[in-house]
Every structure is written in C-alpha cells, then in structure tokens.
Symmetry: none
Subunit: 175 residues, 4 copies
C-alpha cells in the first residue's frame, strides 16, 4: 500500500559495495561515499542495512560462486575437485582479507553469522555429503583451508588441495 522500495537501489548498492570491498577491502567501503557513487541518499542505505557490517554481509553474499558437482570420480578425486574449488574461491588476497574481517565481525555481532556462513555453506554441504555429515572430516578440510587463508597466509593451490585430501584420507604418520 505504501510506496514500494526501489529494488534497483538494492542491487546497485550491493554491486558497488561488492566492487569496493574487492578492490579496497573493508575500510575502503565508506557508506557516505558509496551513497554518493550510487546516487542514493545515505538514509536509503541505512533503511536496508542497519549497519555497515550488515551491508558488507549482504554484498559478499554475491561472491559465493558455483559449487561444482563432482559426479563420477573416486572419493579422492571428488574431494580434490571440491577442495580445489574452495581453495580457489578463498585464495585471492581481497577474499582472504574479507573473510578474516567478516569472521571477526561475525564474532562481534552474532546476527551476522548466518550471512557469513552462507558464503561456504554449499561447499561445506557438498563435502559433508561425500564424507558423512556428522563425521567432522568436512570441517577438518575447511579448517585447513581457512587456516592457510587467514592464519598462516600460505598459498592455496591445487597442489595443496591434493596433498591435503590425500593426507586426510590416508591418515597422518609421523616423520
């Protein structure tokens, strides 16, 4: 009954926020500037997302990308496909940065958690389907990838993914 929200504004704001985040990271996203760029009043932004963090969460939702559906290979091959894809998704420096930033933001404001988790939920579920959802092994793989991405800052490539899968499947042996 009332004037409906302009959905184009939603899209334009999210697109700009997304681009800005990729290019300059969290601190480069300034609500005032974004509004000016998009040609929208600041209030229009805040009406939709009560906080910069909420906006960020909304913006990155578009980053999820396609989760591959590894049809036929062996368990190891299928896992390598999924983990490689995850590694590739997470690898770019701006993405690492955003993930670290968002993980921190989600700790500060719990309502952000589901939005942040959504980024890798599909990939996590795919791993869970292969490995058994309750086994925890999927999270071991995710954990190893995130550890490299935001803690140890080591490269994330196909080689790493393959080695990780092999090691995880085979079990660790010292030396």
């Amino acid at each position: 009954m009332a004037r409906p929200r302009n959905t184009e504004s939603d899209a334009a704001i999210l697109a700009d926020a997304s681009d800005t985040l990729r290019e300059g990271g969290y601190d480069a996203l300034v609500v005032d500037d974004l509004a000016r760029r998009v040609g929208v009043a600041k209030t229009t932004v805040y009406r939709r997302w009560p906080t910069k963090n909420h906006l960020v969460a909304g913006a990155i939702a578009s980053w999820r990308g396609e989760t591959p559906v590894p049809g036929g290979g062996s368990l190891e091959d299928d896992l390598v496909v999924l983990v490689s894809d995850l590694a590739e998704f997470v690898d770019p420096a701006p993405m690492r940065r955003m993930i670290a930033e968002l993980v921190a933001a989600a700790v500060r404001e719990p309502e952000l958690r589901p939005h942040v988790d959504a980024l890798w939920r599909e990939r996590r579920d795919a791993l869970g389907r292969l490995l058994g959802a309750g086994s925890g092994v999927a999270d071991q793989l995710l954990g190893a990838v995130f550890y490299r991405a935001i803690v140890s800052h080591e490269p994330l490539d196909g080689e790493f993914a393959a080695a990780l899968v092999r090691s995880t499947l085979a079990g660790a042996r010292p030396q």
Copy 2:
C-alpha cells in the same frame, strides 16, 4: 643520562588492556580511556606499542599459558594432550573473539603477524616435533581447532580433541 622508562607502567597498561579485552572485547579497549584508567598519558602507551593492535597483541601474550611437554605416552596420547591444551586455551569466548579480531588485524597489517602467531607458536612447534615439521599435519590440527573457534563456533573440549586426533591419525573413511 636520560630518564628511564617506568616499567611499572608497562605492566599496569598490559594488565588493564588484558582485563578490558576479556570483559568487553576489542572495541571496548579505547586507548584514551585505558590511559585515564591506568593514570598514564596516552603518549606513554604509544611510546611502547605503536598501534592499538600491537598493544592488543601484547596484552594477549599474557594469555598464552604454559605449553605442556608431553613426555612419555604414545603418539596419539601425546597429541591428545597437546591438542586438548590448545583447545582449552582457545575455547573461552573472549579468547575466540580476540583471535578473530587479531587474525583480521594481522591480515590488514602484516607487521602484526609474528606477534599474533606468537600466541600459538609454541604449541604449533610442539605438534611439529611430534608429527614432522614439514608434513603439514600440525597445521591441519591447528586449522581444525581454529575453525571451530572462530568460524563454526562449536564447543572445544577434550572429547573433540581426542576425536580430532584419532580421525587425523587414522585417516578419514566416508560414512
């Protein structure tokens, strides 16, 4: 010849920072307020730690605790001791919060990395000694722990540690 630094100030600042971080988290630590509480000039803080993040890292350093030296048991037993200890160290909510915050800060400002890493370096090294430093398995364990701590927000207890070690040693098997 010159006036020496007051070492009591160092301790008092760190103590207050540590308490404040535990109670209110990263954003609750405001340098101005801290200085007033401690009865110290802001300059005195910044002369010692060039950045709020450095101060936070310093304050957190006191949280490290003792890394156990698992002498005699089997490989699995020794790992469980170390991983349980790590889990216990990382588990408390303020610690999770700070780790997320510091990990993000370290991504933003690379010079912070060694200070942040120092928080778990000893435990990581101990795991490396048991598992072979280059094998990457130590990081798999760390990754799994951090993943729970700051991403999936699941509990971190001895049971989890034992299951993680067992699964990691034995190798994953689907279903």
Copy 3:
C-alpha cells in the same frame, strides 16, 4: 466532484500541534511524530500546511483569544485594559517561546509574516483606533511588551502594563 477533505483531520492536527508546542516548544513538534500520533499520513498534513512553520502559525492561531473591547473609560483606562490583555496573552513561557521562534521563522520566510502578525493584529488595531493608526505609538506599546517577552525575559503583568501606559502617555522625564 472530488472527495472532500476530512475536516476532522484539520482539527485533530491543529489540536495536537498546539498541545505539543505548548508542552515541548518548537523543536518538539516533529511532523512525522505528529502524524503518527494523530493517526494521519504526513501527506495529509502537508496538503493543508505547506511547511512546518505554516502549521505552527495555524496552531498558534487558536491561542489568540478574545480581544477586549474597552468601551467607556478614559484613554488611559482603555489602554491599560488592552495592554494588560496583550501582556497576559504573551506572558506564558510557551507563548514567549513560540513568539520568538515564529518571529525568527517569519524573518527567514516572508510568506509567513501575515500569519504570524495575525496573532496580534486585532490587539494592534484596537490600540491604533485609540491612539491614531499612523502615530506609531501603538507600536511603541507592542514593542515594549515584546521586548519583555522575548528579549529581556522580564515578567509581564498588569502592573507593568499600567506603568507602561502611564509612562507612554505622560512622556519620559529623566531621573
């Protein structure tokens, strides 16, 4: 031919505006809030009064009260009646506040002037009839009253009115 305006809305809006102004002053009157209180759309307000200031002027109009018609007495007596009545009208704190606010608004937006002047036009005309419209003495009396009301913030009572009239009629003598 078209749907007529709801005259009850006019009254309800004015009543609420009047009350709010008396209680909290100019800044307490927020068009958004008023509309919500009255149960009316903001558009309905702005269709009737193009500006908050116009609404304020309208609300205030209900405060005018009755101008006395001093029939019989001497010139001095008649003037005291009129000036006392004006003083009483202007004296209450909310009225002083609104007059100051409206006078300022009328300086900013000249189209408001007639509406604001209307508040005291009748009383001014009555004084003019007694004193000669072009003599300027009526405005001297009004000026003295307003000066107390909004500049010097002194009390406005019958005693003051009587002294003012006497002094004005007799002419000032130093000491």
Copy 4:
C-alpha cells in the same frame, strides 16, 4: 602543562563564522564547511563551542561595535544620537535576521541569553544612564527599535529615531 589551545584557531573560526553569518544568515553557517574553510578539524570547533548556537553567539559578540558617548547636547539630542546609532546597528537585513534567530535560540537555550544580551548591553546601559536605570524608558526605546527590526519589518533610520525619541519624551496624545 598540557599543550595549550591555539588561540589563532579561535580567532579564525570566529572570524569565518561571523562573515558567513553576515553573508548567508544562520542556516548558511555549517560547521563542517566552516572547519574546512578555516583549515581546522571539526572537533576543534566543538571543543570550544559545544553547539552551533554557542558558536553563533561567540561570533556575533564581535559585532557590537562602538557605542557613542553623547557628551554635550540636550537630553533629546543625546538620546537621538544613541537611538540612531542603535537603529543603524540593527538595521541591515542580515543583522535583523541574526537578531531574530538569536533571540529565538536564547529562548530555547537559556545559557545563550547573556551572550546575546551582550550585543546591546552597552547601548542599553548608555540609555539607562540618561534616563534613569529603573525607569524602564530605556527598554521602551529598545523595544520600539527591536519591534521594527524583527516584528513589523519597517525601516530603521535617523528619522524614525528622532521621531521615536521626541514622542517618547513628549508623551503620546491621541489623534
């Protein structure tokens, strides 16, 4: 012992505020813009004046100008000198506007009153010395001037001043 305030900033801020007020009136004074123009951080402004209104009051304090000291003439001549000077001071359109605005602001925030009153205190005192401080006639003259300035919006010139003084001294006679 602490770094002292930069008194040049005070002066520069007041000067800019004063100019801006004269040129564009109350609403043209935007704290953000002023700070940029002066080359000062907004916080530096707010450290000195807690509110825009306080800044405005400070700025106009410089407008007081010189109160003439009417030495020798007759009472009427001396009064005409003073009232003409007051009229001239108050006459310019920006000044009328500011006075109306400030009078309203002083009604809203009583702590502003003394600063606003200071604008004409000297002239009021000078009138009081000629006419007797307690007689109230000084305020009658001031009231008449302010009434023209901000209520009736009539011109304020020497002719008016002379007529006002004459009428006030002689006493009003109808017709």
